[in-house]
Amino acid sequence: MSQNQALIFELSQPGRVAYALPECDVPEVNLSEMIPSSFLRTEPAALPEVYEVDVIRHYTALSRRNFGIDNGFYPLGSCTMKYNPKINEDVARFAGFAKIHPYQPEASIQGALGLMYTLQQDIAALTGMDQVTLQPAAGAHGEWTGLMMIRAYHESRGEVRTKVIVPDTSHGTNPASATVAGFETITIPSNDRGHVDLEALRSVVGQDTAALMLTNPNTLGLFEEQIVEIARIVHEAGGLLYYDGANSNAIMGITRPGDMGFDVVHLNLHKTMSTPHGGGGPGAGPVGVKAILTPFLPKPIVAKREDGSYYLDDNIPQSIGRVKAYYGNFGILVRAYTYIRTYGPEGLRQVSEYAVLNANYMMHRLAPYYEISYPGVCKHEFVMSGKSFKQYGIRTLDIAKRLLDFGYHPPTIYFPLNVEECIMIEPTETESKETLDAFIDTMILIAEEAATNPELLLNAPYDTVVRRLDETQAARKPVLNCSCG
């Protein structure tokens, strides 16, 4: 492929169409008799004119320039790129799920409300929480929702608490969500074992502490062994604990945030519950809370009457309000519910056990070749450092780019920020030992190439549709649309 891939706009030929709308079957009236001409376009929008075969070939060509889980191994740390089951996709397209309106009478959406109610219950049981809202559209949206509830809780007690504490290994969304919820962020360093530094925590908690946000296992793939003590420290200071559920794939049926002492938790259904990432979304980020926070849940939640019927409960007087139009990303909730029903409680536990076994196996096999940042037992993911390759002029980015030539999606790189030249690997449970072995062998080969032929890595990738792209230029002189009009 030496040619640029055409933009759809570049395929346009005047007079072609790709649609077939019905003739107007009502008596037609001149547009300007219905709408004043000052409100009407003087020039039509310059959309392309193509026919249906162009549309299909164009997007098929684009899809072939993209890499998904169905194309191959995708060990992207902190993203849980597990297999996206096909039954979930089929079910979400059933007319009774896809073609229903949020403002239909409740009696006409009992199946949908029942599904949501059961999902609320299942997520509560899975996380050890008392009540769940399905409204948040993504993890970050869930974080903000949870923090707004924490803020409302403190305010209801007449307390002014302005600070949210996060470890330096936290996801960037944690401090960003704290800001939009009106809090100041305090970042505390991790200790040399990659865990929360209890002394650092003790030194910052106080009467102004609203919450501690924690991912557990953390983003280094390590379980915070002192979580009970951490929870005690925060609670004694009057703060609450927020659980970032991005890494929940390690703990299903094994331990629960509620039992660890967390007061709020979000789950990323697009991670733990296998709903597709879609190239960046849509996701869903339901939030579970302990009883002390249920008065502040967003409105409405799905509730059940004594006669067994379901309804949308708007009667939450202390609610933080609404966080998402309608009831959340229902189509994603359907997929997540289907996933839970595919595995059941025993199956979900197996999922987490195998995810953790796969990660530990990879870590041990790679340890002779790459510096493992925190040796020992990891959970569903682990981090390595590429810094030993700097002596050859090779950075982690070069290793990642070389992986592309072997048909792999690279691991997450340069996150968490406290590990130099970080490489973060999360294999998930849906990959076979053969797949893991083949990837490990490739990583070993690349480590050898780095030492013997660094140029090979510096110029990688070779076999992709484009080679390394000039990101500096893209940011300096932004070209953000085709200006085809």
Binding site: A18, Y19, V26, E52, P85, H101, S108, M148, T255, C482
Partner: protein, 450 residues
């Protein structure tokens, strides 16, 4: 139990544990304190085999009244538009739907180009200079626009019209509490924002005026006049717009909007009980670096070939953490793809044709209502594909809608739910999917319910 997504065999497990130097799976979890280990089986829904699961899901699905079996006149933000059949074929390509965010551009050119084309489509329709890669939905995009305006103007007050979608205003309220912003709501007069009230409230403290056009009642706002009002005080104009209407309505950009946002659900996205949909977000060039969310830009590779990357990332949470322009991380890429395929399919002529069909059919329906003795149209302001029916004094909307449901209709939205002064008012939408017969029969049925 063996599971179809799990390849682990007992032999694999034994081999792998041996490599790690462990005797049991239990040892993998030795770092979790015993006191917080979960004992027993989680009380969650049981597993089902594939046949039983399909049957169960079909049963749940069949309990819902869907657009295939019922004739929908519901709008209020979510519409029963035609979804061209090609769309499902494209978004079912698993190279698209099973991919993550395009952080590795060399193997994500398909997604990146699709988003670049989406941004181009949104700019073309809205008349704006820059669009991002999409937001959760139109309602959260409104809240993000308010936040952007406050930060860009360093002012704390937002003025929002009550003709903006009630749920979007509720989210704006929640968001404003987080950011410590003040919200002032403006009355509605004849289905549109009360311009006198608005002008009296705008001051040098106002960060932005936020309106929707076509608004929640279907009416078209005088964007230019409102823009002039707020610009006189150096504040910003945020316009939320049903993008399908922009096939024929003048682009808000041309009329003076600084931020144009909305929901792309009308562009081939399933109604799906209201989500997931796809918010869009477009701004003037001056506000480019204040935008929330992901943005794709064009660049060149080492060999000089055109390519696309995520760009201007110095605004975003993974770089800026607590100083980011927003906490948003994901976008709605797959649904932005839906919207792009829709626009590619409709093209220059089709987007005008479908918008015109909506206008013709909605106005035909409104005329039929006007000719009814007991029904009236509440407003005289120009509208797009939605309008408000005023029912007789004694009419109960809930009962009427239940009767219409029994007759096979998803009737309009009960405006009394969100506007106490509009008890007995029904908001109905008429899309290109409704035939003349359906409209005539609906009006007849509605009259019969009174």
């Amino acid at each position: 139990m063996k599971h179809r997504y799990l390849p682990m065999t007992p032999q694999d497990q034994a081999d792998m544990l041996q490599v790690i130097g462990m005797d049991s799976m239990e040892q993998l979890f030795q770092d979790i304190p015993t006191e917080i280990r979960y004992q027993g089986t989680l009380p969650i829904s049981e597993a089902l085999d594939e046949i039983s699961l399909l049957r169960h899901m079909k049963q749940l699905s069949d309990q819902n009244a869907d657009f295939d079996r019922y004739t929908s006149f519901l709008g209020a933000g979510i519409y029963d538009h035609h979804v061209p059949v090609v769309i499902n074929h494209v978004i079912s390509r698993s190279e698209f739907y099973t991919a993550y965010t395009p952080y590795q551009p060399e193997i994500s050119q398909g997604e990146l180009q699709a988003i670049f084309e989406f941004q181009s489509y949104i700019c073309e329709l809205t008349g704006m200079a820059v669009a991002n890669a999409s937001m959760y939905d139109g309602a959260t995009a409104l809240a993000e626009a308010g936040s952007l305006a406050a930060s860009a103007t360093r002012r704390k007050q937002l003025i929002v019209s009550r003709a903006v979608h009630p749920e979007a205003r509720q989210i704006l309220q929640t968001s404003a509490r987080g950011l410590n912003l003040d919200i002032i709501e403006i009355d509605v007069q004849n289905g549109v924002t009360d311009l006198e009230h608005l002008e009296s409230m705008i001051s040098p403290d106002t960060a932005a005026v936020l309106i929707q056009s076509p608004n929640f009642f279907g009416c078209i706002e005088d964007i230019r006049t409102i823009g002039d009002m707020i610009h006189a005080h150096k504040g910003l104009l945020v316009v939320s717009s049903n993008p399908l209407s922009l096939g024929v309505l003048e682009s808000p950009g041309k009329l003076g909007a600084d931020v144009v946002i909305g929901d792309a659900q009308p562009f081939g996205i399933a109604a799906s009980l209201g989500g997931p949909t796809c918010g869009y977000f477009a701004v003037t060039e001056a506000l480019m670096r204040k935008m929330p969310g992901r943005i794709v830009g064009q660049t060149l590779d080492r060999d000089g070939k055109r390519g696309f990357v995520l760009t201007l990332q110095a605004r975003e949470q993974h770089i800026r953490r607590e100083k980011a322009t927003s906490n948003i991380c994901s976008n709605q890429a797959l649904l932005a793809l839906c919207a792009s395929v829709y626009l590619s399919t409709m093209g220059k002529q089709g987007i005008q044709d479908v918008a015109r069909l909506n206008i013709q059919k909605a106005h035909y329906a409104a005329n039929a209502i006007r000719h009814s003795e007991r029904l009236a149209i509440a407003n005289t302001s120009p509208f797009f594909n939605e309008f408000v029916i005023k029912l007789p004094e004694e009419a109960k909307v809930t009962q009427i809608n239940e009767q219409l449901l029994a007759a096979g209709y998803l009737s309009g939205y009960d405006l009394g739910l969100a506007y106490p002064e509009l008890q007995g008012h029904l908001l109905v939408a008429v899309t290109e999917r409704r035939t003349k017969d359906e409209i005539d029969q609906f009006v007849t049925r509605l009259e019969a319910c009174l």
